[in-house]
Symmetry: C2
Subunit: 342 residues, 2 copies
């Protein structure tokens, strides 16, 4: 299976590391037959293998880490842009790992996916933008072309969600989904329970590596809104965008408020919800006071949890306890293994 990789940030490099350096430690990966025809970044260059040949991923990773980008001296170096690569290179699966832009409504990743699907290529995306802004269009296109559109790591990293629903909730209609899906806000709210101020808590989250340099995307609830939209679209048949989510962030929350809630035996949490209402799917990201014994409250600082409610079974909870970069990379890998099997 030949893959074209778009983006070579933390997730892409971790994926490369698992596939090369760490691979011998993982017996389950021994039979994976995957080669890369190209890696294209936005501002750190691109490598493209000669037709029929493949990149040496281990050397590419080392070179990128040493120089903070691909080296122009490398004979495989090119200034090819992502969309052009998607249109012209020869690959079986497009692996989209670029960064979500709410402002650009999922672009340019959305165009990358649309173009790859039009060419009849499989798509694996860790970028939730296209799924949050145009899932039904892309799913229909994939179906018409007889290819797969996989996106396990768009919500809760590699923790089982989309594959779980497909394999384990067969015949069920999903009535409601709820959860705590944004690590940064959950971490910050927990820190405020100990009296830490919002800016200090954000700084700690940044230092620990799971909050972005510009944390507004998390603090204003946009990341959570994008995730609940992905769940509503992909699991409940909705046709929404993150702009349709009733959205509240945590920017106005003070340690005093958080501690006042705590003093009443409850905890303030930023909860995502999608539910059916009169034939529509409604979505919300809002601060809620949950009982301290609620399962959403036992999460560690940067974990995630989702509750799935169906017509045929009692509620199921899936939680991810201590996600690291490996979890997101693994979500992509699981999707690639799904393709390799089929």
């Amino acid at each position: 299976m030949r893959a074209l990789l778009l983006g070579f940030g933390n997730v892409g490099r971790k994926l490369a590391e698992i596939l090369t350096v760490e691979r011998p430690q993982h017996p389950g990966l021994h039979s994976l037959d995957l080669e890369l025809c190209g890696i294209v970044t936005r501002s750190h260059g691109a490598l493209v293998a000669a037709p029929g040949a493949a990149l040496d991923l281990a050397s590419a990773l080392t070179a990128y880490r040493t120089r903070g980008g691909f080296a122009k001296e490398n004979p495989q170096y090119t200034s090819l842009q992502a969309l052009e690569a998607v249109r012209t290179l020869d690959y079986d699966v497009l692996v989209e790992l670029t960064v979500l832009s709410i402002r650009e409504q999922g672009e340019p990743a959305l165009s990358h996916l649309r173009e790859a699907l039009r060419r009849g290529r499989h798509v694996v995306t860790a970028n939730k933008g296209p799924i949050a802004f145009a899932y039904q269009e892309l799913a229909a296109l994939a179906q018409a072309q007889g290819v797969q559109l996989l996106h396990e790591s768009t919500v809760m990293d590699g923790a089982p969600l989309f594959n779980l629903v497909g394999s384990s909730l067969k015949g069920c209609t999903l009535q409601a989904v709820s959860g705590i899906l944004n690590s940064t806000t959950n971490f910050v709210l927990q820190a405020m329970e100990r009296g830490v101020s919002l800016p200090e808590a954000v700084a700690t989250a940044q230092a620990e590596g799971f909050a972005e340099a510009d944390p507004r995307h998390d603090l204003e609830g946009w990341d959570a809104a994008a995730k609940i939209t992905v769940l509503a679209n992909a699991l409940m048949g909705a046709m929404q965008t993150p702009f349709a989510v009733e959205r509240e962030g945590i920017t106005a929350v003070t340690p005093e408020r958080v501690r006042e809630v705590l003093s009443r035996g409850k905890r303030l949490k930023l909860v995502c919800r999608a539910w059916r209402d009169a034939g529509q799917v409604r979505t919300r990201v809002a601060l809620e006071e949950l009982p301290a014994a609620h399962p959403f409250c036992t999460l560690s600082g940067n974990g995630s949890v989702v509750r799935l409610e169906t017509d045929l079974m009692g509620p199921i909870l899936v939680a991810q306890e201590e996600p690291t970069l490996s979890d997101t990379a693994y979500g992509v890998l699981n999707d690639l293994l799904t393709l390799a099997e089929s």
Copy 2:
């Protein structure tokens, strides 16, 4: 798809109810093409359809409920025994819903499965005995015959576990599994935290319908031991039986001990564990003192929870909050839908 049903207890009747009375409420079941060629019980008679014909499941259910068994006046009534039915009837899938016997080492269900697989028929089992006592033998036989052996509801009812691992943890090696898998003991331990005695708590669990008439199977840890063996065998490649589990029950636990643990900010829980140790899989069911904030402690009285630890991802938790009979029946249904798809 033609099914032969063995056992028509609570789970079997609930399954029949979902497939008949409740079916119109579940859009996901509309396309399921399933007919029954026979239902065989141990002591309440059997119904067998004429060759090529199918049972009227709705009438069978009503008649059984009215009389507490099948009516001899019914022209489809027969005194056929289970093993003979497995050997002689014409079906695509054997649905094994009889009761687990630890003493009989999974028999007679084990013989039913072995015989169906030898005849090249698919098997769906909710009885954990055969998986706990002979999984590797049965799995090898199913593979050799090109048929499927499905058992989603053997642990945590219909909550995603075996299908989850197959679909969502591809390429992963499962390093350890732990969880709270027996509802009765969890309910009883929680009741003892409120000062209720063990016999009183057991009586309540029986009145609420989730403890067996003879509760020793639960209280002595045998049900938990069978479940952790199923997980070790089916997910970690072990070849064990419940007799190999290092096993502790709760029969000697007093409310005083439970409350003393609680006074130290911890909770006494019967925890199941399977883990790798020097190339072997070890299994244990034991009382453990867990911190009150541990995710295993937020379960309601009769819920279940499992933690999966792999080489490629951080730990994943799956919890079932408020299981009812529907959940077990749904596990069987999900397996039938898997077969119908393939």
